[in-house]
């Protein structure tokens, strides 16, 4: 089944890393929320996540779902963004044995998956080691 509509709805976050910042307590939420989980307020301003951070933790996927089997083994991690929230994403361009917590990474635009040979290509963000 096509997931075009769902993919399309998530474009602001997947393409441009748009988050919401609570006008009450300043907490940044990604993806955006309707109610701040920290203070309960409902007013937010749009912010864009910083493009750099450090690997907080990660796990290596060796037996991957079929959509990702070409890329196995690959790492999924939590990245503490510099001055921003933590996000979960794939960590690309790095062999699992070279990956370390605390490693400096930047966010790059990548293919996340494609819906078979005839379906749409899903683009989004991944973390990669800084040059």
């Amino acid at each position: 089944m096509s997931t075009s509509a769902r993919y399309w709805r998530e474009i602001p976050q997947r393409y441009r890393y748009e988050a919401s910042k609570c006008k009450g307590c300043g907490a940044v939420w990604f993806p955006p929320r309707l109610i701040c989980s920290a203070c309960g307020k409902k007013e937010f301003e749009d912010v864009v996540l910083p493009g750099t951070g450090k690997v907080k933790t990660f796990t290596v996927i060796r037996v991957a779902p079929s959509e990702f089997s070409d890329e196995a083994p690959y790492a999924i991690g939590i990245v503490d963004l510099d001055g921003g929230p933590a996000i979960q994403c794939q960590i690309a361009d790095c062999a699992p044995e070279d990956l370390k917590t605390g490693m400096a990474v930047k966010i790059e635009f990548r293919k996340v998956k494609q819906e078979g040979e005839a379906g749409i290509i899903n683009y989004g963000f991944k973390a990669v080691p800084v040059l």
Partner: protein, 348 residues
């Protein structure tokens, strides 16, 4: 005067050496390295394509242009390896950089000169006063058939240029285009790999069109090769641009800063545009830059740029092109390369 207000490049970090490809096909690596003047080429990761590289190059261009992306009025992506047969690359790029929805967008294709086509159109829109800024991208993840001479050079990379009329870093003083119908390289619909006409790709194709375009634009400008600080030509291999440049009267010193092919390979639509980004990274105010693209089929676009005082303030605002060439390369064996480039047919 209209010109470039921001520029950026992107290249994947994976590489494969000529020796690694030659080993698999029983070819003589030294003769390929000598013949192509090429030691290695870039390889896109499995999660990279023309769209992802275009976005990254455009973001580098935006960092240098320091403009609101919403002020960009057009996005043109030139490539012969657009990920979709039907669905624009430019819509994804425009959306990702925050330029939508008030933009004109088109995907262009003209073998290796689709990038300079976009540059020509973007510049013309600025010259015509139709918009404040226009973005032109040249990007490719081209494929050579396994064992074919093209496999040693077909590489991946992208260059992006934001054109505008204010705060330019390089003014465009002259342009010229030269084109004939010349069947030197092609790929038919549904075909996975391109075909080429062997030695016919040389004298009647690359050399005729580059020489024709370069000679005409120099005449138009009333300039000689020695009037330029840098010269960038399309780089299908490391040899052709140096040969044509010398025939025209340019020197190695003028051409080497923009000659990326020996370490990067042929990035097709990104080739001469990426060479231009490498030159802009080191250019000084007042210097002049000559650029001539080439696309099979066949044609060339020529540009003459004059570097402005603004260049020094933007060069360090994004990664430089040589950073992508020199830092953290990951070298692949042929097996991984074949998997990454989907040269291996998998079962259902």
């Amino acid at each position: 005067m209209a010109g470039i207000v921001g520029y950026g490049a992107y290249a994947p970090r994976y590489r494969i050496k000529v020796e690694e490809i030659a080993k698999v096909w029983g070819a003589d690596a030294p003769s390929y390295k000598r013949g192509l003047k090429l030691v290695e080429k870039s390889v896109p990761a499995p999660d990279q394509d023309v769209i992802t590289m275009s976005v990254e190059a455009s973001r580098n261009a935006l960092r240098r242009a320091r403009i609101d992306p919403a002020d960009i009025g057009a996005v043109y992506v030139g490539s012969e390896s657009h990920p979709y047969a039907v669905k624009p690359s430019g819509t994804v790029v425009g959306e990702a950089i925050g330029a939508t929805p008030n933009i004109h967008c088109a995907d262009l294709e003209f073998a290796c000169k689709a990038g300079s086509e976009g540059m020509f159109i973007a510049l013309s829109l600025i010259d015509a006063g139709k918009m404040e800024y226009a973005l032109a991208i040249g990007a490719d993840t081209s494929q050579g058939a396994p064992g074919d001479a093209l496999e040693y050079s077909a590489a991946a990379g992208a260059a992006a240029f934001i054109f505008g009329a204010k705060n330019t870093v390089a003014d465009v003083e002259h342009t010229f285009s030269f084109m004939t119908d010349t069947p030197d390289f092609w790929r038919r619909e549904y075909m996975y790999y391109p075909r080429h006409a062997g030695r016919f790709t040389g004298v009647p194709a690359y050399f005729k069109h580059v020489t024709g375009c370069a000679t005409a634009i120099l005449d138009m400008a009333g300039m000689k090769p020695e009037d330029f600080d840098y010269a960038v030509f399309h780089q299908p291999n490391g040899k052709f641009p140096l040969t044509v440049g010398k025939k025209l009267g340019f020197t190695d010193k003028q051409m080497e800063p923009g000659l990326l092919c020996p370490r990067l390979g042929n990035t097709y639509s990104g080739s001469s545009p990426m060479g231009l980004t490498a030159v802009l990274d080191i250019a000084k105010p007042g210097q002049s830059v000559f650029m001539c693209s080439y696309g099979s089929g066949a044609g060339s676009d020529g540009f003459i740029f004059r570097i402005t005082d603004h260049i020094t303030g933007v060069q360090d605002l994004a990664l430089k092109t040589t950073d992508y060439l020199d830092k953290n390369q990951v070298y692949l064996e042929y097996g991984a390369y074949a998997k990454y480039r989907k040269k291996i047919r998998l079962g259902e």
